[in-house]
């Protein structure tokens, strides 16, 4: 024990020499704060460091290897899977000091950023040039680019614009050995070598720490419009989405609010004018003003044919913002439904093939009824990604029992419907137990890669069932 303590002291002093006194802490208060992310999981680190560059990180990782202590990268800690939670203790490496946009290269449609850049800040800067990084998570104001990359995140506009992995061209990574390597290419496309960039997108800090990223960017669309279609039947709404794609259209986003979500929004903000029906679809289209106009017309036609009971096109900015904010509000509104309850992020990211979305929605409702919980569901139907919001009184133990059961049933149903437990939030601890079912033999391949790169299992151990 004595020896253990003096070894830890030695490690602390060495880390301090790397990052400086201001940027390291093992104060109990700090350790308790860095024990959480958005998920209900918790694990206390031994040390937190806030490095400012890749070489510091390299030194930190080398020391961790020498002392065989876990390293847990952390961005904003807005992840919902427990990815940044140090379940095995160790050193939390918080990357928020590395928040510089290093290069905006409009000619080549790319930017180079440090991992701690907050998503919204990147887009605010790019907007000055008329450009944007199209991935748009609901957590834009807090999520870091490093976190988005590592969780393989995406957002409401992924139908047309794709997900984070479609935009990462090149990464600088500190490997578990401490080696700093650059992977990928500056060229718009490359067929050279294994696609290591894609391996690191979604690796959740288990293979190394991202210290720099070159991202693709696009010009901001000139025009946007929103079509709101109301359906008295979930299946019809699902069909409308399929029919839209069949008509050759790719809206930037298609969002769904089921009755529970509409009720929640109306209760949260009665001024929001949306019909109370079984399902609302929000189609967002963008592009040139002419293209947008045409697409709006086609969507209207498709929805009418698919049995929409009401269609509303938002042309004014006010109406557009109101409707889009209705969607953005659902997550928050769920908590407002009952003042004693809050949302627990569990089973919140199930994703199924698009044609199975209506079935998944019905299934969630059924599970809710079985356990007597009003589960508000909303999500990116255009990409099959649903966000059921489980809301409980967290001070009541029996509600937690119920929550775990519901979570299990929802996630199992998603897998049974040919889907996955996570479309964009990642696996972390929350969904580790489903890895085997979702990946079968492929999980062993992942483990082999993990062992090869991180033989001492220091990088974010305990995550992703690796």
């Amino acid at each position: 024990m004595q020896k253990e303590a003096s070894v830890r002291e030695e490690l602390f002093e060495k880390l301090k020499a790397v990052v400086g006194e201001e940027n390291i802490s093992r104060d109990e208060a700090v350790l308790r704060v860095y024990s959480y992310d958005v998920s209900p999981y918790k694990g206390q680190p031994e040390i937190v460091v806030r490095p400012s560059n890749a070489s510091e990180i390299s030194e930190i990782v080398k020391l961790a290897n020498e002392y065989r202590i876990p390293v847990v990268p952390r961005g904003a800690g807005s992840g919902a899977a427990g990815g940044a939670v140090p379940v095995s203790g160790g050193i939390v490496v918080e990357l928020t000091r590395m928040n510089r946009i290093l290069e905006i290269d409009i000619k080549n449609l790319q930017v180079v950023v440090e991992p701690g850049v907050v998503h919204a800040n990147l887009n605010r800067e790019l907007a000055k040039y008329g450009f944007f990084f199209p991935v748009d998570p609901g957590s834009s104001e807090m999520a870091t680019i490093g976190g988005l990359i590592s969780n393989g995140g995406s957002g409401m506009r992924s139908v047309k614009y794709g997900v984070t992995r479609d935009y990462v061209m090149e990464l600088e990574v500190v490997l578990p050995s401490g080696k700093i390597v650059t992977m990928g290419s500056k060229a718009p496309k490359s067929a050279s070598g294994y696609d290591l960039v894609r391996l690191f997108v979604g690796a959740e800090g288990t293979l190394g720490i991202v210290t720099k990223a070159r991202l693709k960017i696009l010009p901001l669309p000139k025009s946007r419009a929103l079509v709101l279609s109301a359906f008295d039947d979930l299946e019809k709404a699902g069909k409308a989405v399929v029919n839209t794609f069949s008509a050759g259209l790719v809206p930037s986003g298609i969002e769904i609010l089921d009755r529970t979500a509409i009720e929640a929004v109306k209760k949260y903000n009665p001024e929001i004018d949306i019909p109370l029906v079984e399902a609302l679809l929000l189609f967002e289209v963008d592009g040139t003003p002419r293209g947008v106009k045409e697409e709006v017309e086609t969507i209207k036609e498709v929805c009418e044919k698919s049995g929409a009971v009401k269609i509303d096109v938002a042309t004014s900015k006010e109406r557009f913002d109101q409707l889009w904010s209705a969607r953005a509000m659902v997550g928050a509104a769920t908590t407002a439904l009952n003042p004693d309850c809050v949302r627990v992020y569990e089973a919140e990211d199930v994703t199924v093939p698009i044609s199975n979305v209506p079935r998944m929605l019905l299934k969630i409702r059924e599970i809710g009824e079985k356990y007597g919980m009003n589960i508000v569901t909303f999500g990116h139907i255009g990409s099959g990604n649903l966000h059921p919001a489980l809301v409980i009184n967290v001070l009541d133990e029996s509600e937690w029992d119920k929550l775990w059961k519901i979570s299990e049933e929802i996630q199992t149903s998603a897998i049974e419907l040919g889907g996955t437990t996570t479309g964009e939030h990642g696996v972390g601890i929350a969904r580790a137990k489903y890895m085997e079912r979702e990946h079968g033999e492929a999980l062993e391949v992942m483990r082999t890669i993990k062992r090869a790169l991180d033989p001492n299992n220091i990088m974010n151990p305990g995550k992703m069932a690796l």
């Binding site: 109990e28 860095y34 957590s139 104001e141 809050v342 949302r343 001070l395």
Partner: protein, 367 residues
Amino acid sequence: MNDKIIEACVPEVVKCVHCGKCRAVCPTLDVLGWDNYGSRGRMILAGEIIRNGFDPDETGLNSIFTCTTCKHCTTVCPTKAKVPEVMEMTRSILVGRKKHPDIHRVLYERVEKLGNPYDEHKDRLWWIPDFREPEEAEVMFFVGCTPTYRTVEIAKSVVKILDGLEIPWTFVRDQKCCSSPLIRTGWGSITTDHNIEKIIETAEATGADTVITSCAGCYKTIIQDYPIEDLDIRIMHITQYLAEKLEKGEIELPQKPGLRVTFHDPCHLGRHAGEYDAPRKVIESMGVDLVEMEHNRQSSWCCGAGGGVRIAFPELTEKIATKRVNEARAVDAELILSACPFCVYNLRVNSQDIPVRDIVEFIAELM
């Protein structure tokens, strides 16, 4: 005592789902970087202290006591978590355990002994020795400690404006500190009953039916922390009072056309009391060119002084205030206006080049 506070605090603490949305707006996190110095970290620590038996170390205490109670976090929070209130409750619990910045105890003792937190022994009306209570008045002026002892120009300006506009006024008799510095720091109010009693007494003696104050902190405290529901007396910030008179066409304010001014929303007037328009109406009525800073109204950036932070952590306050002044510089403001003596005082000492005035000073100087 503590049990009761804990009971009230727990349901508020668990409202924080740790989403981190507040990271973008917390002025102390912005300066200090560590998550424990931001809203989410503070909510986690409050939970650890209240629910998990955490006996906070120095860093823990500093985390809880560096919150300026600016409420910026609550305005962006998806669950509207009441962070400032939780901080006040947690501070009360810590004060009960004798764990707090020493200087906050000193403030308490000064208010208890002298009725003000500034260790001033002077009479509160030292700056207006000729004052005699009139037989009749329309409004009662609650001056507050900062204008009385630190920014007396503000107190004098209010008087000049009221006289200039021929509004019959008096002082709330024998006033004491509103207790805002004590409540925010977890020490609770010790002057509420006294001040309410004096307000009633003055109203009965002079017929005045409105209390006005130029201090955003006093204003918030009286309307939100004093049990005044049954009081048949209006409590108004002076900008509200003037805006109302302007709207009714009863008064006109002096003009300063062409001057490029910006307005700093005091947290206690804006986010806490929901008043953003009245000060702007007053400013705009003066013909100036009002430009907004990057952060304004609901998203106004705190000046860094509130919540007992200025006295306990002056370097932190200075850094936050400097950021705010830089925002004014970024919009080329020639003058920063605010509506709170504490904000004005704090921004003024941290602004090298741009002058800072309270709205009432600005009006009075032109009268």
